[in-house]
Symmetry: C2
Subunit: 129 residues, 2 copies
DNA sequence: CAGCATCCGCTATGATACTG
DNA sequence: CAGTATCATAGCGGATGCTG
């Protein structure tokens, strides 16, 4: 397992993509992060996740549930109560995701700097035109 | 650094997202994987990456270059030659990405199984209607 | 060869209103 | 409370033709 390129391309590109999409979409990672500590209710997640809509929360949770990463428990009460939690399988995803999250946190300054330098260089080129 | 949720939300959500987008989009990871071994030319990448268009290859490489992950070197020859390679900074991204890639490779069967079970359960519900 | 410009469809996401 | 249904839209990504 030396080459990452081979791993991405030779194994099962479509499957690889679909797994990456699950983790790479706009909300999954945040929700997994929130649920990593313990279970939460629908509205609780809605309040805690800034900017998410009910629709997107529903869809994202459904996808995570479909992949076996999140478990959904309905309590037949009135008013209804639904709890979401990360499954044992989902928890195996946490370490690699944390690794990526840590990289993002540690290097965001460097990235901002790179972007600024790049954009300034492009600006200079524009000035010459 | 215990809570992933806090890391995603409290630090700088926008920045966090933009870093994740870079790694989560359709082609970046594959290109980084291919370039991880050594430098490659534009057309070489085009041929080696199945399904990518010239437009997307250009855009993705530009973004990676802007973030300081990939270096672009132009050789003033005719016909022109351009080499792409992963920078030292970009290589620091490889380990966490590899971690995620490994998880995807190791667990894709489990995910497929989960999805099938979920879809079948949904199908059964439909039958009752 | 290594792009850039243009057009264009599709999907992801958001806003809003309604329901068991 | 925890959704579903519907509509609208923005941006991603593909196809194609042109150029230094």
């Amino acid at each position: 397992m030396r080459s990452m390129g081979r791993m991405c391309l030779e194994h099962d590109p479509e499957m690889f993509r679909s797994v990456l999409d699950r983790v790479g979409d706009k909300w999954s990672l945040i929700l997994i992060g929130l649920l990593d500590t313990g279970s939460m209710r629908f509205t609780e997640l809605l309040r805690t996740t800034p900017g998410i809509s009910r629709r997107m929360l529903t869809l994202t949770l459904r996808n995570l549930e479909r992949d076996g990463i999140v478990k959904r428990t309905v309590y037949p009460e009135i008013p209804p109560r639904v709890e979401y939690e990360v499954t044992a399988f989902g928890h195996t995803l946490t370490p690699p995701v944390l690794g990526l999250a840590r990289w993002a946190a540690e290097n965001q300054d460097a990235i901002v700097a790179h972007r600024r330098a790049y954009d300034e260089a492009a600006g200079d080129l524009d000035d010459v035109e």
